[in-house]
């Protein structure tokens, strides 16, 4: 008799309640054995996507490594809000050296472990989008190119948040930051700038590249676990809304993450050896306007009256992603 598994989704979120799943399908966070790698007491803002993403990603990596893991962290919000001397929120071996070198520090740790024959200890390096796509790009590309045994996680909140919301190479078009203000004839970040690091990572043909958002945390955990099943250079790019920098309600962090994906603005996919192997399809396609409107960084697109032309250009970006990655039905192009 054909068997049809019944899925219980939370309305609107597509999240399946843990209780409804078998033990082996439950999230790392639901387990009492989770390591609380990033534990309570840190000083992130309410609704900080980066704190949430880091917690899920690192606990999953800890489980996958049998709790044998070392982390190198770049300068940025995640570093600052977790380690104000003499306190620390990290319950894992953790080092912060500089803003632009976390990938190279990761390489060094991996080399040390290899020379000591301790390859069972795994290495994660992490940074914000600035520490990844801009100042940290050289060491990151070097780490990729040498296929060093490091998982690099980028927590992308689309600007330099720690220094007060300045533009980075990951800031999207039209977004207001402190250095791309909503003034002048073209308010916000220019169109045609910025770089797509997941694609650049793929061009290095490293074993595994994935993107994720903090809306689908089980998916993030899955991708971290998958990444940990490979050796060599691996890259995960997580979209992490920042209420302070985006001008969004702390309670909207998850919703905005989901909308970023459902509009097509942030494609969620996996790639191995430079080839896309899976994409998370859009389930309820949304117009970009719905994603932009709740964020104050896009406020100038709606006041005094909607700037339909600019919103249309952003929609075109989403549409291009949808066809390029096959985010609706159909194959990626």
């Amino acid at each position: 008799m054909p068997f049809q598994p019944i899925k219980f989704y939370q309305t609107g979120s597509f999240v399946v309640g843990n209780r409804l799943l078998s033990e082996d399908q439950r999230s790392v966070q639901s387990s009492q054995a989770r390591t609380n790698s990033l534990t309570l007491g840190h000083r992130a803002c309410q609704g900080c996507g980066e704190a949430l993403g880091a917690r899920y990603a690192l606990d999953a990596a800890m489980r996958a490594s049998g709790n044998q893991m070392v982390v190198a962290n770049a300068t940025g919000c995640l570093e600052v809000f977790t380690t104000p001397f003499p306190e620390t929120s990290w319950q894992i071996p953790w080092i912060h050296s500089l803003f632009g070198n976390s990938a190279a520090v990761g390489t060094g740790i991996a080399a040390a472990l290899r020379s000591k024959g301790k390859q069972d200890i795994r290495v994660v390096a992490q940074a914000g989008d600035g520490g990844t796509v801009d100042i940290g790009f050289g060491p990151l590309s070097g780490m990729f190119e040498r296929n060093d045994d490091v998982l690099f996680i980028c927590y992308d909140n689309e600007a330099y948040m720690n220094t007060g919301v300045q533009r980075s190479g990951a800031t999207p078009p039209a977004a207001r930051t402190a250095t791309t203000d909503a003034v002048g004839p073209h308010p916000g970040e220019d169109f045609g700038k910025g770089k797509n690091l997941p694609l650049i990572a793929m061009a290095h043909e490293i074993p595994y590249v994935a993107t994720a958002t903090v809306a689908e945390l089980r998916d993030l955990e899955y991708k971290v676990e998958k990444a940990m099943s490979f050796h060599g250079a691996r890259y995960i790019h997580v979209l992490v809304p920042c209420p302070l920098g985006w001008g969004s309600a702390p309670s909207d962090t998850i919703r905005l993450s989901r909308m970023a994906k459902e509009t097509g603005l942030f494609p969620v996919f996996e790639a191995e050896g430079g080839e896309v192997t899976s994409v998370s399809k859009i389930r309820h396609r949304l117009p970009v306007e719905e994603y932009l409107r709740p964020q104050r960084r896009y406020q100038h697109l709606f006041r005094p009256q909607p700037d339909t032309q600019t919103i249309g250009r952003i929609q075109a970006i989403a549409d291009k992603n949808i066809s390029r990655f096959g985010l609706l039905n159909g194959e990626p192009k």
Partner: protein, 418 residues
Amino acid sequence: MLEQIEGSQAVARAVGLSRPEVICAYPISPQTHIVEALSVAVKSGALEHCEFVNVESEFAALSVAIGASAAGARSYTATASQGLLYMIEAVYNAAGLGLPIVMTLANRAIGAPINIWNDHSDAMAVRDAGWIQLFAETNQDAADLHIYAFRLAEQLSVPVMVNMDGFILTHATERVDLPSQEQVDAFLPPYAPRTYLDPADPVSIGAMVGPEAFTEVRYLASLRQHEALSSIEQIDEEFGEVFGRRPCGFFSSYRMEDAEIVAVAMGSAVGTLKDAVDDMREQGVRVGALGLRTFRPFPADAIRSALSGSRSVLVFERAHSPGFGGQLSADIAATLRSVEPTVHSVVSGLGGRPVTRRSVASAIQASAKGELGLETFLDLDESLLKREVTELGTARRSSATGGAVAQIIESSGPQGAR
């Protein structure tokens, strides 16, 4: 064993004998021969239990060493000049984190104008970074100081920079007595840090420290540098017991007994100073030489007592701080605040200009006659300068290096830059 060997090869061998676990480097003249030799040693299997990482920049080179050292591995890198400046943020960071990394600095001038030859501008640029800085006088020194540096760094949890003059030492073939592996093992125990990145005992390294504790952190770092002075003496003694010679000390002294004039330098010029001292002694000038090996921490007390009997001190320094003067003479002058001798800065050997026995002797002679100014640029080409000044008056132009320098180069004929 005594060998006729290039300085870089001797250093590579000494580093290898020190059983490093991670080596990372980015090529720059005149450091290349050292890291090439080490990469061959690792790749061929001659140097076991060691990883060699070919990085994409000097910033990455020292960052890899930082990660490796924090993970408990004995870590080594080497650079020079532009490369040192490219990694300077990590230079400060390694010291702040107290990581016992050893780095060779094959001393080279800093551009523009680009110049691959020797001076000490690079070492001076990081003089305040918190590293211990040692200067090799000979290639024997250079080899010994590396073995010594690992021991010192690990005992104190402070990174150590071994300076050796680019080309003059790195590319010179000299007789060097390289120790045996047994000797080195007897002197240098395996690296066993108290804290490192260990899943069995998690620590957070590199926390953010605010005004409430930063001063104390810096004070402790300063204390540790002062402690290093006594460690240097103690380790020197132990080195002597194992290898039969003392590599470091604070400085070497030459014919200093009754010296009225003392010539001071760091690095390979010290040998030239000694020759010039011999020449001048023959002419009856009471002169001696002091070759400074330990530049940071600065052995102020020892220098003061060594120089306090003299009348004038001539500091032959291969670096110069524009708008101020020589850095080494400033340090020495500050040390001698309360005693008699006048300190003369003799800026010499910039960008590879040879410091000759004859020029050194002429400066000593001028000093003996009381004719040496407080700051002298040794062997300055007056005619080149004159031509430059007149041309500046007639033609105004600018270029990447600034009009003045471009004109000096142009008017003195084409020179290739590498």
